[in-house]
């Protein structure tokens, strides 16, 4: 059982790890605001989460890429683009795109919602597992931006006069916003809340 700063009537700085008496409101070492448990952060998490989900809808409805070749012009949404690649036999790339732009964003939405609910309603998953989940989301979240960069790279170089041209679709901005909002949702979450439940006295006595 770990002793926490809060148990000792102290507050730890989330930015520089310096320890202060509970009543202090600003860290003298790094200037950050001090708060022992940021329960209000959950509202921020939900607000960013909702913004992220909302932005994710147009990201999938509108075209991500507009491709023009000698004989055809085509506008593809994220999912249609992946199926298009699969049609021509590039199953590997199609799978990567589906995982990176569909599976991971959806998994992130569910995971953040689960973590936020678990600290306000309680959870059956042990704190350590939930913390690993949180770390994975924080790590993986920014990698979704890769899609936006790929669109930028393709649009910048595939400008070959009449032969072929690729231009970004409006979904790119919605997708980028969705990734940014989801990252902000994960960052707003105070991960110390995850650990509090296991240290509550009720559970201690229940364990004997």
């Amino acid at each position: 059982m770990s002793v926490t700063a809060r148990d000792k009537g102290l507050v730890g700085c989330r930015h520089c790890a310096r320890v202060w008496p509970m009543e202090k409101t600003r860290c003298d070492r790094c200037g950050a605001r001090l708060i022992s448990r940021d329960r209000a952060s959950l509202q921020k998490v939900w607000a960013w989460w909702l913004a992220g989900v909302m932005a994710y809808i147009p990201a999938n409805v509108y075209p991500m890429l507009k491709t023009r070749t000698l004989f055809s012009t085509q506008e593809d949404t994220i999912i249609a683009g992946a199926f298009e690649l699969a049609k021509y036999g590039s199953y590997g790339v199609a799978a990567i795109i589906l995982i990176a732009s569909v599976l991971i964003p959806l998994a992130k939405f569910f995971a953040i919602a689960y973590l936020a609910l678990s600290v306000s309603r309680g959870a059956t998953m042990p704190a350590r597992r939930r913390f690993v989940l949180y770390e994975v989301i924080e790590y993986i979240g920014r990698w979704s931006m890769i899609d936006v960069f790929v669109v930028a790279i393709l649009s910048a170089i595939v400008q070959l006069s009449v032969a072929a041209a690729i231009n970004p679709g409006i979904a790119a901005i919605a997708f980028a916003l969705s990734v940014i909002f989801t990252m902000l949702a994960a960052q707003s979450f105070d991960s110390r809340l995850i650990w509090d439940r296991i240290d509550t006295p009720e559970e201690d006595s229940a364990r004997g």
Binding site: M1, S2, V3, T4, A5, R6, D7, K8, L10, G12, R14, H15, C16, A17, R18, V19, W20, R29, C30, A32, S36, S90, V93, I96, R128, F131, G141, R142, W143, M145, I146, D147, V148, F149, V150, V151, A152, I153, L154, S155, A156, I157, V158, Q159, L160, A163, A164, N167, P168, I170, A172, I173, A176, I180, M183, Q187, S191, R192, I194, W195
Partner: protein, 259 residues
Amino acid sequence: MLSGQRNVARVIASSSHCDLPGHDTSSQNPKNNMAGICSAGHCCCRANPYLAIMETPTPPLDELIACPHCDALYHVGTIKKGERAKCERCHAKLIAPRKAAGAHIIALALASVVLVVAALFLPFIGISRLGFSNQATILEIAWAFSGGPMLVLSLATLGLIVGLPLMRLLLTLYTLIPLVRDRPPWPGAARAFRLSEQLKPWSMAEIFVIGCAVSLVKLGDLARIELGPAFFMFAVLVVLLVIQDTFMDRWSVWKALEK
């Protein structure tokens, strides 16, 4: 790293058993005693010699560290260069001083700044197909969204792949240069360092490099692709950034800034 360690030195017994009567860790239920902490909560019976749970009375606050991820509280012992102390509860790396880290980071950061700036003006990636060819620099890639309302996305892209990595490098240099020369920190250094840490997830140079690889695969047989010098400079930059990050010991920097 930054000559900030010595005054935290408070040796804590490194033996895994406890000498005090009644504090034998071996007799404890291992479930309640995951970290080898004796039930009395003394710092004597620790498997981890670097971080110890609090004694009573509480030692001076500047000898303590609270894990930013889980709030576990530790009394910091003597940590030699090359050793590392992890949080027992959430396994986050808390302290990991390295020998001459400050000087290494400064050298790497200076090299990185040169790479970023030079890469901006050289061709990053090129393409040719059916006798047509085209190449783009990083600035032109970011500018791909510049048509109409997507201009914002162009600016954001430029910020994420070049602006913020560059800014973090400059903030790191601003923080560390006076410290390695054993001078008092420059004004606002603590804010600069905190900002640099906060910007870390938003600095996406490595994601851009991988994005480039994905683009290559995606274009596949549609066209012939050539990677320009800027791509390789960026790839080196990513490696330098990773090395800097492993040398960077936040705890030592904060200690040095506090003095």
